[in-house]
């Protein structure tokens, strides 16, 4: 627990995001989203597929500009890219022509750090994510889970104050997800950054986060629920899921989320067939 007023790391105020479709119609992805992430807080956004969770994350990253509403990062309006944030993408985003260690070191190198220093730090980070012996592997020689670990190290080496994560463990199998989730918890506990974590997996959200935010099915999705996860820390990503409190909270949130998931499926079904 922090004393005094924790500053707000990310604040979205009535942010609406719209895209111009190919046939010139306007598609509203997210409508009037209001969300605040305190410094050091771990917030998970959960919603059905295609509800604009990633859109919201891109707004916080500065990769997308909202059509209306404001984005403030540490109480300053965001213009251009969010320089305080590190972004872990859903898709593989490692540079395929760089080795694991070069991929991790690049963030420091482009900031002007001497190469030997950058490589030293990168080796340290690879060890932190359990890949100390894989420094000279190219991304295609690593498994999906190992690539995610390298991605995590690549983002964290820059020591961003805010961590944005877009279904980062989505493509991994269930066991690997849990292991990497635990790794993330460990690393986060060491220096609590503000985290905005997008996932479609409610269990993962509850197990990791301080707060779980639910979004409605798209288009024009809104934030329809906000739960505080009062489970004690430090947590274990495996153990916590067995507790009674976890189940109670899961049932409570799922009651709301289920309807949205059904709506999301119905719309996706219409769109497809």
């Amino acid at each position: 627990m922090r004393t005094g007023e924790a500053s707000t790391a990310v604040a979205l105020h009535d942010a609406t995001v719209a895209f111009r479709l190919a046939d010139a119609r306007l598609y509203t992805a997210v409508e009037q989203a209001r969300l605040a992430v305190a410094d050091g807080e771990f917030v998970a956004i959960v919603g059905p597929t295609g509800c604009g969770k990633s859109t919201l994350l891109n707004v916080a990253a500065g990769l997308l500009t909202p059509a209306s509403g404001t984005v403030r990062i540490f109480d300053a309006p965001l213009t251009g890219l969010n320089r305080e944030a590190g972004y872990l993408f859903q898709a593989d985003a490692l540079f395929p022509w760089k080795t694991a260690i070069d991929n991790v070191a690049i963030g420091l190198e482009i900031a002007g750090a001497p190469r030997t220093h950058a490589l030293q730090r990168a080796q340290g980070w690879l060890e932190s994510v359990g890949l100390g012996g894989f420094a000279n592997r190219y991304p295609h020689m690593l498994s999906g889970g190992q690539r995610k670990r390298v991605g995590l190290a690549q983002v964290l080496i820059r020591d961003p104050k805010i961590l944005l994560m877009d279904e980062p463990f989505g493509p991994l199998d269930a066991q690997t997800r849990q292991i990497i989730g635990n790794l993330l918890l460990q690393l986060w506990t060491a220096d609590r950054k503000a985290v905005l974590f997008v996932t479609h997996d409610l269990e993962e959200a509850i197990a990791l986060a301080d707060r779980v935010v639910i979004m409605s099915a798209g288009p024009s999705s809104r934030i329809i629920g906000d739960w505080t996860v009062a489970l004690p820390r430090p947590r274990d990503n495996f153990e916590i899921r067995l507790t009674h409190e976890f189940h109670a909270l899961h049932r409570e949130i799922w009651a709301v989320l289920r309807d949205e998931v059904m709506k999301g499926y119905a719309q996706a079904g219409e769109a497809v067939g």
Binding site: A61, L63, L81, R83, A85, G86, Y87, F89, A91, D92, A93, F95, P96, W97, K98, T99, I106, G107, I110, A111, Y138, P139, H140, Q154, V155, R158
Partner: protein
């Protein structure tokens, strides 16, 4: 199939083909030669011709000329293709303006340019280099252009979020991506460089493998034509082997494609 069996079978194909050729070119069947020596020569004569070239050493001069022309055509064509492809991909407006002209020049069968090049650049190596360049340039250009244009958007976003400036983005993302596309067309472009050189020589020159074949053809020396063809094939295979070695070194970061079985 084991390596030994495979090799044995591969050798067998050559032996059978050469054997049949030799047989029908030297033994009359029902009083008629199926492969008249005047048009088809025979493997023994062809082999003799090849040996004679290497023993006397005349062949080396021609091989070196063709090799040199191919190298120059490949180097100039590749550098040009990478630079222009990169420029067009990063400046879509420039690409739009030049698009019809690029298509027009590429649609032209390059052989018709040979007389022009000979006129402009003379009978020496440069007219052949120019012909090779027009072939290599477009292969590399289209590959690089497409490759840079379709650079993974997530990769670019990631690079931006890691704090790269536009210049760093070019250096660490677009440039490696462009080069990787150039290298992926390495076999084709090297092959085209040789084609340009040999065709150019054939159409008018004083040295090179194409010249050798053309000279033999001019005096109805069929053995000489075949000998030239065999030397040319061996030459291209050796170059291709070299390219494969270079590729292995440069593209270690690329996932192995299932192209070279075994």
């Amino acid at each position: 199939m084991s390596r030994v069996t495979l090799l044995a079978l591969q050798v067998l194909v050559a032996v059978v083909v050469l054997g049949l050729w030799q047989f029908f070119a030297s033994v009359p069947v029902f009083g008629k030669m199926l492969l008249p020596p005047f048009f088809f020569s025979n493997p023994v004569d062809v082999a003799k011709q090849i040996v004679a070239w290497f023993v006397s050493g005349v062949i080396w001069k021609h091989l070196l000329i063709t090799l040199w022309e191919s190298i120059l055509a490949f180097a100039i064509g590749s550098v040009g293709g990478v630079l222009v492809g990169f420029w067009f991909a990063r400046q879509p407006r420039v690409a739009q303006v030049f698009d019809p002209y690029v298509k027009m020049v590429n649609a032209l069968p390059r052989v018709v340019l040979a007389p022009i090049f000979t006129l402009w650049l003379g009978l020496g190596i440069w007219s052949k280099v120019a012909l090779g360049v027009t072939l290599v340039f477009f292969v590399v250009f289209f590959n690089v252009y497409q490759g840079v244009k379709e650079t993974n958007a997530t990769l670019v976003d990631n690079a931006r979020m890691l704090g790269m400036s536009e210049r760093q983005l070019v250096r660490h993302v677009f440039w490696p991506s462009a080069l990787s596309w150039m290298f992926s067309s390495l076999h084709t472009s090297v092959g085209f460089a040789v084609v340009g050189a040999v065709v150019g020589e054939y159409l008018g020159s004083a040295a090179g493998l194409g010249y050798l074949i053309q000279q033999a053809e001019g005096v109805f020396d069929v053995a000489g034509v075949f000998a030239g063809m065999f030397v040319l094939s061996a030459f291209v295979i050796l170059i291709d082997l070299g390219v494969t070695l270079v590729e292995r070194r440069l593209l270690v970061w690329k996932p192995k494609l299932a192209e070279h079985g075994g």
